[in-house]
């Protein structure tokens, strides 16, 4: 240990102060969100989360339709995106020829670089008309906007992120595992299954991270979901998500209660996404630490 000089201490404190600022900011977000939603919290309490009515005119606010829409759209997105993202991760890390690896991963990252608003634009003018044709064919009201469009576009947006995390996980699986499977006569797919099994926790974590992303997605969703606060299982019906209602109505909020209600929704979004992210990082971290080689003890137990 070096002798602690005054400069050392100053350095530590100064840089530490800036780091503490970061800490403060995060705490501040939670704090500020709670403070700015106090009116709504006090007025509606827990019934805020179970009321279906969202009527700014009469001052009645219930967040259930938005919770419904957020979860519904994110689950659909995940059901579509997870297998595809895993398939991509498996292909790039286990199956593709070496020369194709870089370009393929670059291309999937390109999907991630497209901003949400561009997805939304494409969604309105290209995806929605297609869905509208589908609805005509299926006999449903030809709106085009609705849960299906939102789910589809969310799925596309979530794929690149999920697949790159999954690829990281697969990279962390020791090759000795696959070799053991091959040596026992496994086919390619069976060896891949062993790798997937080894990385099971991490992969679940990757999928959950994608889910967290989908929960908070705003622009693309609000442009194709129809923005109607109703609770229905119909894929073709317009619905509403938490992020979308905040984006649309924040600047329209005429009175404080309205604003606080919207911010309370933001608070819930904050809490949910933090929870999902923490859980998934825990899973991924626990898997990574397992694949690191254990230290070899000099003297094993006699039972060996």
């Amino acid at each position: 240990m070096r002798v602690k000089s005054r400069d050392d201490r100053l350095f530590r404190l100064a840089t530490g102060a800036v780091a503490a600022l970061v800490l403060l900011l995060v705490v501040g977000i939670g704090f500020e969100l709670s403070r700015q939603s106090m009116l709504s919290i006090r007025k509606f309490g827990l019934s805020f989360w179970t009321t279906r009515v969202w009527d700014p005119v009469s001052g009645e606010f219930g967040a259930l339709p938005f919770i419904w829409g957020t979860l519904y759209s994110s689950v659909i997105a995940l059901l579509i995106a997870a297998p595809i993202a895993l398939g991509i991760a498996v292909f790039i890390s286990e199956l593709s020829p070496r020369w194709a690896r870089q370009p393929l991963s670059y291309l999937t990252e390109l999907l991630a670089a497209i901003p949400s608003i561009v997805y939304g634009l494409w969604g309105i003018f290209v995806l929605v008309p297609i869905v509208r044709k589908l609805e005509v064919w299926a006999g449903a009201p030809p709106l085009g906007v609705g849960m299906l469009s939102a789910g589809l576009i969310l799925a596309i947006m979530v794929i690149p992120f999920t697949s790159s995390v999954a690829r990281e996980i697969l990279k962390n699986v020791p090759s000795a595992q696959r070799e053991a499977a091959y040596a026992l006569g496994a086919t390619r797919w069976e060896a891949i299954q062993v790798a997937l099994g080894y990385g099971k926790q991490g992969i679940i974590g990757a999928v959950m991270l994608g889910f967290g992303r989908a929960l908070g997605e705003t622009m693309a969703v609000t442009m194709v979901i129809g923005n109607s606060p109703q609770i229905t299982a119909s894929l073709f019906a317009p619905q509403y998500t938490m992020a979308a209602v905040i984006a649309n109505e924040f600047t329209e909020a005429a009175d404080e209660l309205y604003l606080h209600a919207l911010i309370e929704i933001g608070l819930l979004l904050f809490i949910i996404t933090i929870g999902v992210n923490m859980l998934s990082r825990l899973l991924i971290w626990s898997m990574k630490s397992r694949s690191r080689p254990m230290p070899v003890l000099a003297l094993e137990k006699v039972a060996a």
Binding site: R98, A180, A183, G185, E300, A303
Partner: protein, 269 residues
């Protein structure tokens, strides 16, 4: 209906007609991309004996071992030329079923690599690949394999616990049991005890001695004392060439080649 091969455990008709060894290698070359790492290897591995492959690091003995069960196929730039015949059948022939080959030729690695599953599921893995389902059938073979690997007594009460909880030496014996479960005829061992302490090593060597009654064993080792203790025949590799092969005693006491003598007496390598 059992899926385990019921072929007779003696060398088959073709080999007997040609009077060949269990593993017959002729003029075998191996390339990693442009560089040639094995040169014209000629080697006969007799049935139910232990053949040790010795030589300094990088001499190609592990590469050669992995060529026998075509584990090198996994490496994209690898190429093999020449013949390796097991029971008279060319391993690199176009029609050869690699998956079946690897069932008949088992492999144990330098560092034990148990799956993150229970002891039972590790051993049963190869069997389940082959389609075996019945719990009782599986349990029978699991017990038999663990006994063969001298691990049964130590783990019989905790077959459903994680294999990763075993000590290094136990894990290695587990991997041996896992390889034995699919009933191979040949066992390839790549420095199986190099990561273990002396006591565990001694147990593995004891095991090899017992196993050779029923299996043909080829073992790569950098430990010459181990080779001398455990093997019937020894092959000395250097720089990708097979310098000399013969009965272990001969190789160590009265080797023909000077290079062999230099190596086994410790003058280099």
């Amino acid at each position: 209906m059992t899926v385990i091969d019921v072929e007779p455990r003696t060398s088959n008709a073709a080999a007997m007609i040609m009077n060949e060894a269990k593993i017959h290698v002729r003029n075998f070359d191996f390339y990693y991309g442009p560089s040639k790492v094995l040169h014209a290897i000629d080697l006969d591995v007799p049935d139910r004996q232990v053949t040790a492959l010795i030589g300094p690091s990088g001499c190609g003995k592990s590469t050669f071992l992995r060529s026998i069960n075509r584990m090198n196929d996994i490496i994209p730039e690898a190429k093999a030329a020449g013949t390796i015949r097991i029971d008279g059948r060319d391993v690199y022939a176009p029609g050869m079923d690699v998956v079946e080959l690897r069932r008949r030729v088992g492999m144990v690695f330098q560092k034990s690599n148990p799956f993150p599953k229970s002891i039972f599921d590790n051993i049963a893995y190869g069997l389940r690949l082959g389609g075996m389902r019945g719990r009782r059938q599986l349990a029978e073979i699991v017990e038999k394999s663990l006994r063969r690997a001298a691990l049964w007594e130590e783990v019989k009460d905790r077959l459903d616990t994680s294999a990763l909880a075993l000590s290094g030496g136990q894990q290695q014996r587990l991997c041996i049991a896992r390889a034995l479960a699919v009933d191979p005829e040949i066992l390839l061992m790549d420095e199986p005890a190099s990561a273990l302490d002396p006591i565990a090593t001694a147990k593995i060597e004891e095991l090899i001695y017992e196993l050779k009654d029923n299996y043909t064993i080829v073992i790569v080792t950098h430990n010459m004392q181990q080779a001398a203790r455990v093997s019937d025949r020894t092959a000395f590799f250097m720089l990708g060439k097979l310098v000399e092969v013969g009965p272990t005693n001969t190789i160590f006491m009265t080797p023909r080649e000077k290079m062999t003598e230099d190596y086994v007496t410790g003058r280099f390598g």
